[in-house]
């Protein structure tokens, strides 16, 4: 018996005292707006519809940067224009973001970063309303037809900037320009013609060829405007510049997939290179060998 006593004691000791728990020490992440002629300066005046461009540089102070949030603050409201999760362990964050000036006389743009310890840092810039209007021109593609995942005849992929469509053969060499792919499925028993993009995981389930693409663009669709029909067909048809495209997009309710895209739905989107646009669903089948026909308006 004596032989085993040391073993028993050692087992108890190592079990009792070897427990560890994650402990997060306080860190001080840091963020600045990059200087440079290509970026909008703090205090600048920009006309409504004009582009605002910021360069952001941040470090996490030993912890990964996990979030970048951009808020547009006016007298009347705080709009979160960007709330992006990320994981930048080394080298810090270095990115450029673009937005469009709204109608408010004064906008305070606030940039907040958070790191893996949930510590935050922020920096702000004030943008004044300039004279006139800078809403820009748009491209209009009145009819684009693509097939769902089991449609063997129609193309599957769209470059929203040009309106060009591609199938699995013709897309070779054009993968970096693809913004949209579609599929059909039952979502919790509910029929869903769905718009998505190469950067969205589920889309690759239905179009597995996209898994091998080296560039997988992420287009964001505004599902709230879509679900609640906040833009009418008449408004879509009447849009002559990008005003509706920019203002109809609600940045707080966006995703890389948009379900329930039935016939006559209007879907605001923003491409991965920052172009705003609108899709009108002209026709949507509700079976996986079917197709969608859409019209697209997108910023030039």
């Amino acid at each position: 018996m004596k032989v085993y006593k040391p073993f028993i004691i050692s087992i108890f000791l190592c079990f009792t005292f070897s427990c560890t728990e994650d402990e997060l020490s306080e860190t001080n992440p840091f963020v600045i707006l990059k200087p440079g002629a290509e970026y909008t300066k703090d205090g600048a005046s920009i006309p409504v519809g004009g582009q605002i461009k910021f360069g952001i540089s941040a470090v996490g102070d030993g912890a990964a940067i996990t979030n970048l949030t951009v808020q547009r603050i006016t007298d009347e409201e705080v709009i979160t224009e960007l709330d992006r999760g990320m994981y930048i362990k080394t080298g810090g964050l270095d990115t450029t973001v673009t937005f469009v000036k709204g109608p408010a006389e004064l906008e305070t743009w606030r940039f907040i970063i958070m790191n893996g310890h949930r510590d935050t840092a922020s920096v702000s810039a004030v943008i004044n309303l300039g004279e006139g209007s800078a809403y820009g021109e748009i491209n209009y593609f009145s009819s684009i037809t693509i097939g769902f995942q089991n449609n063997t005849e129609l193309p599957y992929y769209i470059d929203l900037h040009t309106g060009n469509t591609y199938n699995n053969t013709t897309v070779e060499g054009h993968e970096p320009s693809i913004d949209l792919a579609s599929y059909y499925y039952l979502s919790s028993g509910k029929s869903s013609p769905t718009l998505s993009c190469p950067g969205y995981e589920t889309a690759r389930y239905y179009h597995p060829e996209m898994s091998s693409w080296t560039v997988q663009n992420s287009t964001l669709y505004d599902y709230e405007t879509t679900d609640y029909d906040l833009i009418t067909i008449e408004e879509f048809d009447a849009a002559q510049n990008d005003s509706l495209l920019v203002n109809g997009y609600i940045p707080g309710s966006v995703s890389g997939t948009c379900k329930y895209c039935y016939t006559d739905k209007i879907i605001p989107f923003k491409t991965s290179d920052g172009k705003y646009g609108l899709i009108k669903v002209l026709h949507a089948d509700e079976f996986d060998t079917g197709y969608m026909e859409i019209a697209v308006k997108i910023q030039k």
Partner: protein, 773 residues
């Protein structure tokens, strides 16, 4: 580091060898017909030492002079224990007579009535997993030991890689552990937070036997025992010192070390301390459980490996032959990956950090017996979730779940009856948060539930003990308090929940009355019939009362006013032993459930990042009808070959569904309960022989509905899961102190999928090598 220390200790002990000298010769007989028994196991002082030959004879040489405890065991016979003294250079020739077990089994159970009874004397269906079956059944985990009991439905999709398992029975939903009570040495282990049980906690080495009482047991145990009660009885040593150390290695680079030590300071005396220590460590690289399509679509799919270890210690003191106090401590820690890794070092995973303390005092004097227990169960659950969709999302679920209480039972035996009563006090609580690291959100939920139970039972024996009546009644009162659901710094991840922010959820209470009446008539030792009526209930879980959040199919909102659900069960059963070697049993039951809890559409919807989803909440809305039967046959072909086979049929249907809203598109009336197979069948063959002991088992699981709406599921691509059959094999051999066993689970490499399209591990082989001392 700690795992290496443990492995080192196990290896050191593995090479510890005890030498002995002198000689014992024996012959083993059947006490009823004097036939010699071949291939019986003989162990000396707890270590396997010999197997009898075809003439029932054995010989053990090189014994040192001294006193020895001989244990002779064989399937179908009562285990024989005998103390012998051997002098120096002495050769003893002894005869041993093993008594065949009579009727179905002469095993004693305590779970069905909280008093000691032979199984055949209780007018309910009790199944037992004996220590011998534990040795022969190819199981990696405690719940798998129950796989071959008729009517038991085990949901463990990923084998040892499952972070949780659910064991249900008799037509109840296979995804809800809260409808079956699970106990360790009579102490409840279902957590108040979700009703779940961590079946990974216990190492099978520390289990003496498992008792399964089917049908409602709420008249004794209160909540959770609605569908039945499972009691895991741990080992209590009677030897001075014994132990076992082993290591196994197998599929997916799975390795495990186990250590079991036990002893009693004064094994022959009435007084004295006894103790045991059980530790295990297991790790595995795991496998990819995602479908091929998921692997193509998601570049972050990885193997779902595991690391777990646990230790338990028991210290008891026999105050005298009638009184004992006992303290059990259990610690368990695991880390199971779920098969997706983006940036976090271990990817998506789940961890349980569990402490379980049990203290017990039991004794008897004259005609009274008592048992007082205290327990404290603390589980720190941590789940890391990360994924890359539109952007990177990473958050942790940190949940502290505590259940503690005091249980008491007092029995008094009169001439032909035994009256049992007791009081139970319990508290369960949860304090949890979802903490986001890729946004600022933190979501808190908390709540507590106090339960008070009072019960009484009378066991009456009439007509020369041929007629037995058991009547019981229990009253439970519970109140929910300290509930809250709060959201801090919400972003788009959680803003949709803001309407449900509530720092002080409404307190609520409920009570439940659980009667039982059962009768049995025993014609003779070979035939009996019984019938019973019992009512059971399941309390609402804290998770449904104080936590709102996403669940599959929508957004769940909490409801602190949830009431218990009930099951009224009528049962008829019979047992018979035919032709000496054939034993059969048949049970038929009819259950009516009311106030069953279901997730019900409120008629509203909420906007998620992937579109509008229905708002649902758990509600007492349904009536359920369940009926079925179980048939079991046990046949002893020869003395060393035993076949056990059973079949269970269950029909589980919702008979009345009252929607909360006229906008609810769902009507469950007439639908079948999900995850309940209509047909289950199992067969087990145990063959003991001189070369190698073999146990082979097969289990057939019939089709099951994927969801309660019985609708087509786009992931499973059907409304029902396919039926499947699993076959397992265990081969084992002992050579003196050393033993080796080969465990093959799922020999046919049968694939089956869960509702998320994830696949089981397939064929799983381990080879174990160990030493008993």
């Amino acid at each position: 580091m700690r795992k290496y220390i443990l492995i080192l200790i196990i290896l050191l002990l593995a090479f510890t060898k005890l030498f002995a000298q002198s000689e014992l010769n024996g012959t083993i007989y059947n006490s009823e017909n004097n036939e010699m028994i071949s291939y019986a196991n003989i162990s000396i002082n707890g270590q396997a030492s010999a197997v009898s030959n075809e003439q029932g004879q054995f010989s053990i040489e090189n014994l040192k002079p001294g006193e020895y405890s001989i244990i002779i065991s064989y399937v179908g016979y009562e285990t024989l224990k005998k103390q012998i003294n051997i002098a120096e250079n002495e050769t003893q020739n002894l005869e041993f007579n093993l008594k065949p077990v009579s009727y179905l089994t002469d095993e004693v159970t305590i779970t069905a009535t909280k008093t000691e009874n032979y199984i055949q004397d209780i007018p309910v269906r009790v199944s037992l997993v004996s220590s011998r079956q534990i040795e022969n059944i190819p199981a990696q985990t405690t719940d798998e030991l129950l796989n071959f009991i008729p009517g038991i439905n085990i949901s463990r999709s990923f084998g040892i890689f499952s972070h949780q398992s659910r064991v249900t029975m008799r037509g109840l939903n296979g995804q809800e552990q809260g409808r079956v009570l699970v106990m360790i040495d009579g102490i409840p282990t279902n957590k108040a937070d979700g009703g779940s049980v961590n079946w990974n906690l216990m190492n099978t080495d520390q289990i003496e036997r498992i008792e399964v009482v089917k049908g409602p047991g709420s008249s004794l145990y209160g909540g959770n025992a609605m569908g039945g009660a499972i009691n895991i009885i741990t080992k209590k040593t009677t030897e001075n010192f014994e132990g076992k150390v082993s290591a196994d290695y197998g599929t997916y680079n799975t390795m495990r070390g186990q250590l079991y030590l036990s002893g009693k300071l004064n094994p022959e005396g009435e007084k004295g301390f006894y103790w045991n220590l059980n530790s295990f460590y297991r790790q595995s690289d795991g496998y990819i459980n995602a479908s091929e399509a998921d692997q193509l679509a998601n570049p972050y799919i990885v193997e779902s490996g595991l690391m777990e270890w646990g230790t338990s210690a028991k210290l008891g003191y026999d105050i005298n032959s009638n009184n004992t106090i006992e303290l059990d401590l259990l610690y368990y820690d695991d880390d199971r990956a779920t098969g997706e890794k983006v940036y976090q070092p271990e990817g998506n995973n789940r961890e349980h950090d569990t402490y379980h303390l049990r203290a017990k005092y039991y004794g008897n004097k004259n005609k009274a017996e008592w048992n007082v227990s205290f327990f404290y169960l603390n589980e720190d659950y941590k789940r890391i979730s990360e994924w890359m969709k539109d952007d990177y999302t990473f958050y942790k679920v940190l949940s502290n779940r505590v259940d503690f209480g005091a249980l008491s039972t007092l029995s008094y035996s009169l001439n032909k009856q035994t009256i049992t009563g007791g009081i139970d006090l319990k508290q369960g609580s949860v304090d949890a948060k979802d903490e986001y690291y890729t946004s600022t959100d933190i979501v808190y939920n908390r709540g507590k539930m106090n339960t008070f139970g009072l019960f009484i039972q009378d066991e009456i024996r009439l007509l020369n003990d041929k007629l037995k009546i058991v009547a019981g009644l229990r009253f439970d009162y519970a109140n929910f308090f300290d509930g809250g659901f709060e959201i801090e710094a919400p972003t788009s991840e959680t803003t949709f929940m803001l309407n449900y922010h509530n720092e002080n959820l409404t307190e609520d209470n409920w009570n439940a009355l659980s009667p039982k009446l059962s009768l049995q008539y025993e014609f003779n030792n070979n035939y009996r019939i019984y019938t019973n009526y019992a009512r059971g209930f399941r309390p609402a879980v804290l998770d449904d009362m104080c936590r709102s959040g996403r669940i599959r199919g929508g957004f769940k909102v909490s409801d602190p006013s949830l009431q218990p659900e009930y099951l009224n069960n009528f049962e008829l059963g019979a047992d018979a032993r035919l032709f000496g070697r054939l034993r059969t049993s048949l049970s038929a039951y009819y259950s009516l459930g009311n106030d069953f809890m279901y997730y019900v559409n409120t008629g509203d919807s909420i906007q998620f990042s992937y579109g509008p989803r229905p708002i649902i909440k758990a509600s007492n809305i349904s009536e359920v009808e369940i009926y079925g039967f179980e048939f079991e046959v046990n046949y002893r072909f020869f003395e060393n070959i035993i076949l056990n086979a059973n079949y269970a049929y269950a029909h589980s249907q919702i008979t009345n569904y009252e929607p909360l809203s006229t906008d609810d598109p769902v009507d469950l009336t007439g639908k079948y309960l999900a995850d309940v197979p209509n047909h289950m069948a199992t067969a087990t063959l145990q063959w003991q022989n001189k070369i190698v002991n073999a146990g082979i088992t097969a289990k057939y699981m019939g089709k099951r509905w994927v969801n309660d709406t019985n609708q087509y599921d786009d992931i499973v691509q059907d409304s029902q899961y396919d039926a499947y059959t699993i076959m397992d094999l265990k081969l084992s051999k002992s050579i003196k102190k050393i033993f080796v066993s080969l465990n093959v689970q799922n020999i046919l490499d049968t694939k089956f999928y869960n509702s998320k399209g994830a696949v089981n591990p397939g064929r799983f082989i381990t080879l174990e090598l160990g030493i008993r001392f």
